[in-house]
Symmetry: C2
Subunit: 579 residues, 2 copies
């Protein structure tokens, strides 16, 4: 998807007159982690296209040679040797008329310190003409950069064809005194580069998507531009690598902070900025639910294609909202012909569960099968009759149903080489309203960072986009139920989802606890305590969950590290009784 | 388990004459993560016992107030408030005649930097008389300390009752120029404290167990003593928190490096050192398989009891070596009355699988059930007959068997509130020789850091310890098989385990790759490549595995972070074809 797009060229905007005119290509590419050959090919192809378009400089994202996040691949000496050779080969393969700025790990030559730098490398005519090391190393949430990298020293601008480039890497732009909520770092590369006489900023990033991140980028970049009267070029990775989604959102801001060029989110793009061109402001539509939708579709598509292993995708359809939305997103990501839906009614399933599933499959035009689970459920009942004699039916029997479905789905997945998508949402995953080895089965958890109320918004959005009923209305309006016992409803065990989602958001994303949540919401303290305890106790389930697509600032999984074995004491009065 | 043990008092050893005689209590305790009330009670109880024994100073492990590793509990402001109150209450509750040195996170008062320090806090008579911040923050393998903590400045010794204590925290002792393989840090607190006039070193640690770690501690401490002619007190956490095991191994070394006192590993202990007493060298038996055994038993016991949630433990018995060893370890950890074994024969099970399982259960004296899985397997076959029509039997059908066992075990676990222990070893987990949602089901993976050859050694050790056949001889001698198809043997798909384990150890623990492994072993490059690719491809299974007890320097799980979505290019020739 190589194309050029220069935004609506309307009113001229204030712009600092650079010392030299230049065309800069923002190469918003989608690298695959570890795929040195593939990333090499992608970088060289984009650089050639940029050269053909007359660009002086092609700018690529942070660590684009290895893909972000490379994690512990960075601990393999053989991998690092291959990275070095790949960098050399990229430098040699790029047309001599264009400079190329790429991101790669480079070895730290000093005998003391972390063994690598997170570097931006500038090549021209096959020669390295500039090297900058990332100064601020994010080590929080999903980021573990200090695990691998030694921080760089704040450095001077790099002169390229007469322009003093204020090169820096991702986090280096975020330590803004006005904007940052927490000040983790002493250094401020943005201030230092301006003081050292940069003509413009060039930031290469692998900055993950999260709802609201686009606006945060706008704010911090505009602030830096205004503060130092300098234009700003940001080139960010796009695409998904396992659970982490990158929106791209590459852009150019003028020295007054106005965003004057922007690449579309969630797709590869080549964007050329002519520093001399009159360019008006660049408005882009960013709407929460649409972004959420696009991010999830990209996440499914990249997981599926980058593993390169699957002959289709599979979704267990319950007739409920979560599986319907998951399935519709899979169809948008992979095409209807690649998706199969299976409904697996039990003795407790409503007729709606099959009918609504069938209606969804018809609306989507996907293959659809019905596999009643009663025979296996009955077989388990008979097998365990002696052992369970005299006990009451309960969670064990409910879970047998969910797990029988899980076995059925995995059998189909194994037989036909389908990627099984699991459908649990963030609200359910939070409180453990899911069966481990049952409905939690799957290779990718599409909605595990999407609260239940957001799932409803996605359903409405999907129908609106399509201009027709894709998600059946009955699926949207009926009360949610796991249908594991007669007349079961989610509301039997959980508060209404607006209450639940509010508590969960404050606890998980805002890191507040009992007292503060009660203070802010005026909810019943006993209810809040019950929900927080459910979240804590179900860490063991989440530890074994499929990787989930991260769309918030705090998703379950890699970026949220909670002990399984722990006793969380929630008030001092509890502690006071022990001594 | 509060007791005193002063080691064999034999020949007097050279010892630096301290400026003041003192009795120091090494309080090797087993805290639970997050359990502020419980940890408070434990610390105060040990301090009182130490005071009764006439000690001047009671020394506790690193972060003992919160338990190690607290992970993201450290990001909760409410939790940190509770920690502060707990520290105050500990200080107030300790007898005034004894000083108490505890580890806790403390807030960083500076506006810039990570929000916490990893601190050693010295209290006397309810007042804080010393505070030291950890300088070297391990951020590798299972350690994420820079995620939370700002490094401290190297500081002066703290004078306590006339003795200049060279206080420091865990990693601070490991940056020895001679001993460290990689030099990650500029600072060296050990050198700095000696230069500043310390009379002895006091290190508080939460230093995890791994095979060989005991010897590494001996070496680095002895070297520091000799280098600076100072005695050394190390107090280390004991016990398990989720996957991380702590052996304790607290000790005192004399100024000439001789270890003169040592606490037994894998249990809580109160050890008193009288700086004036003549104490001989302290030999302790550390034997690889015995340590491995004791570590795993402690790991099972602590997982089971610290969650406080289980009415028993459950093991699926296949008649094979892994389930037999897992079950025997569970019996040692929890007692025979707490353990239930279930054998679940299929159409392909040998008679040995049931007979050997029954013999094991008889030898161990545990409850034992036989639940044939044929009815459910047949039911799944019938349910899927239409969908699978015309396909060959293969992995899908094999996995149905494993998953039917998984559902059966989880049903029993749910019904009777048993902790299901999963039995896969490190060799199998490495190459994906395990069924996700099948035999991988369970709350704790007992052997997932134990290579197959080590499992055999454990079996022999268990029988030797018992002085009788606990693990049936037939289980030890028969060729390993998953028994998922007729006459299946592990050796059909895998090389012999001595070859496999060698390759895996070089790849996973030594971080070597294809070329270097072939160079060192002279194994067939195609075989090595096949095994490394299997390891890479099965990351998706391991991501959903139960937490496993870590006994090596590189276990699967928290300390090994490998992308699921990745394409690993293993030679430059592959890359060269793409451009």
């Amino acid at each position: 998807m190589l194309s050029e797009w220069n935004g609506p060229a309307r009113a001229a905007c204030p712009k600092k007159s650079g010392p030299m005119p230049m065309k800069i290509a923002l190469c918003q590419i989608n690298p695959t982690v570890g795929d040195l050959a593939g990333n090499h090919a992608r970088i060289v192809a984009f650089a050639r296209r940029a050269a053909e378009a007359g660009a002086d400089l092609a700018v690529f994202p942070e660590l684009c040679v290895v893909g972000y996040p490379p994690l512990d691949l960075l601990e393999s000496a053989a991998f690092l040797d291959d990275v070095e050779r790949t960098v050399e080969r990229i430098a040699a393969a790029v047309p001599p008329e264009i400079g190329v700025l790429i991101g790669a790990p480079v070895r730290n030559p000093e005998p003391v310190g972390k063994r690598l730098f997170n570097a931006a490398l500038l090549f021209e005519g096959g020669e390295k003409v500039g090297e900058v090391h990332k100064v601020l190393l994010p080590t929080y949430d999903v980021f573990d950069e200090y695990r691998y990298f030694e921080p760089g020293d704040v450095c001077e601008p790099i002169v390229f064809r007469g322009l003093r480039l204020g090169l820096h890497v991702c986090e280096d732009m975020w330590n803004n005194e006005e904007q940052a909520e927490v000040h983790l770092y002493d250094a401020n590369p943005i201030d230092a580069l301006a003081a050292a006489g940069a003509d413009l900023y060039v930031n290469i990033s692998a900055s993950p998507f999260a709802l609201g991140k686009h606006e945060a980028r706008n704010a911090v970049i505009a602030e830096s531009c205004r503060e130092h009267d300098l234009p700003f070029v940001l080139v960010n990775q796009v695409g998904a690598n396992t659970e982490i989604l990158f929106d791209g959102d590459s852009r150019v801001h003028a020295a007054d902070g106005t965003r004057i060029l922007c690449a579309p989110s969630f797709e590869e793009y080549l964007l050329i900025w002519d520093t001399e061109a009159d360019t008006g402001p660049c408005p882009m539509k960013h709407e929460t639910t649409a972004d959420l939708h696009d991010a999830l579709v990209m996440g499914i598509r990249d997981y599926y294609h980058k593993t390169g292993a699957f002959a289709g995708a599979l979704v267990g359809l319950s007739g409920g909202i979560d599986s319907a939305v998951t399935c519709a997103l899979a169809v948008e990501a992979l095409g209807a012909e690649a998706v199969t839906g299976i409904t697996m009614p039990s003795a407790y399933s409503s007729t709606g569960s099959v009918d609504d599933s069938r209606a969804l499959a018809d609306n989507l035009g996907i293959a659809f099968h019905e596999v009643p689970i009663v025979p296996a459920v009955d077989a388990f009942g008979a097998m365990l009759a002696d052992l369970f004699a005299g006990t009451d039916e309960g969670v064990a029997e409910e879970n047998i149903q969910a797990r029988t479905r899980g076995v059925t789905l995995m059998a189909v997945s194994n037989k036909f080489n389908y990627l099984l998508l699991t459908t649990g949402n963030k609200s359910e995953m939070a409180v453990g309203y899911a069966t481990l080895y049952g409905d939690m089965n799957g290779g990718l958890a599409v909605l595990s960072d999407v609260f239940k109320q957001q799932v409803y918004a996605l359903a409405e959005h999907i129908n609106q986009r399509a201009g027709r009923e894709v998600i059946p209305q009955n699926t949207i309006t009926k009360p949610p139920s796991a249908e594991l016992r007669p007349d079961q409803k989610d509301s039997d065990s959980l508060p209404p989802y607006d209450v639940l989602d509010t508590i969960l958001r404050l606890y998980i994303e805002d890191l507040l606890d009992l007292q503060e949540i009660v203070h802010r919401t005026d909810f019943d303290p006993a209810l809040v305590r019950k929900i927080l305890t459910m979240v804590d106790r179900n860490e063991y389930k989440r530890r074994q969950a499929a990787p989930g697509l991260r769309v918030s600032a705090k998703a379950f999984g890699y970026g949220r590290r909670i002990p399984i074995v722990m006793k969380r004491t929630r008030s001092l009065s509890e502690a006071e009784t022990t001594d």
